[in-house]
Amino acid sequence: MQRPATGDTAFERFVLPEIEVLLRVANSLTRNHAEAEDLVQDTLIRAYRGIDGFDGRHPRAWLLTILRNTHINRNRRRRPELLRDPDAAFDRLAAAPSDDEADATVDHELDVEIVRALDELDDRFRRVIELVDVDGLSYAEAAEVLAVPVGTVMSRLHRARSRIRDRLDRAGLAPRSHM
């Protein structure tokens, strides 16, 4: 199956530009860099095998579907001990160098609280926030990754955000109206 090295195969045109997005999403799914890289590698192999049947429309959505299926298959083959580390995101943030300004301290406190709130969400709510707000996917793309309807992505997203908001409120960190 020799292909011309012209730099203009469908695979090069549709797949290579999406590698970074794929890796981002893989990181969200696996929460482990090495694992994520392996997952994207497997996804690339599957995409390469399937490229002849791909119609060229919505390459990102097509690739995200492959990524999701690959992820499911890989998980089936392994022990479920690779659970996410709930403190990872928080540690990363807490370790961020703090600024001298008082404003920055308040901001930092708010940021920490937001990320904590994210980590404490149920998986199905946290995932959708990570994909849309953190990874920057559209509703439709997130729906591909999660294999749920777009409407479900929206309702989970909105509920997840309002839970984070409520938590800020309880911590006295949400802006309040004084009416």
Partner: protein, 103 residues
Amino acid sequence: MPGNHVKAWIMKLFGRAPATDAMDCHEVGALLQHYLDGHIDAERARRIEEHLDDCRRCGMEAETYERIKVTLAAHRPEVPPESVERLRAFGERLARGEDPSTP
């Protein structure tokens, strides 16, 4: 659209039909997330902004959600550039029909 029809009817029932094209708190609340995600047409966005400027409570609400969204986006974890590089090289070898695992 039947949804709009029902909404108009409910608003009429509760005597909250807006006199102008201004939106009320309920309408803005229902659309706020779509607005913040940029999934709304310019005309409705304008009407929402009008309300957010006038209504302190909704304005605060919008500000909080915006803050959450911005913070989450700002803390997007780095994808290691060397990881992207390795995967790109892997993909390029695949595209050339070479064995991708041996650089």
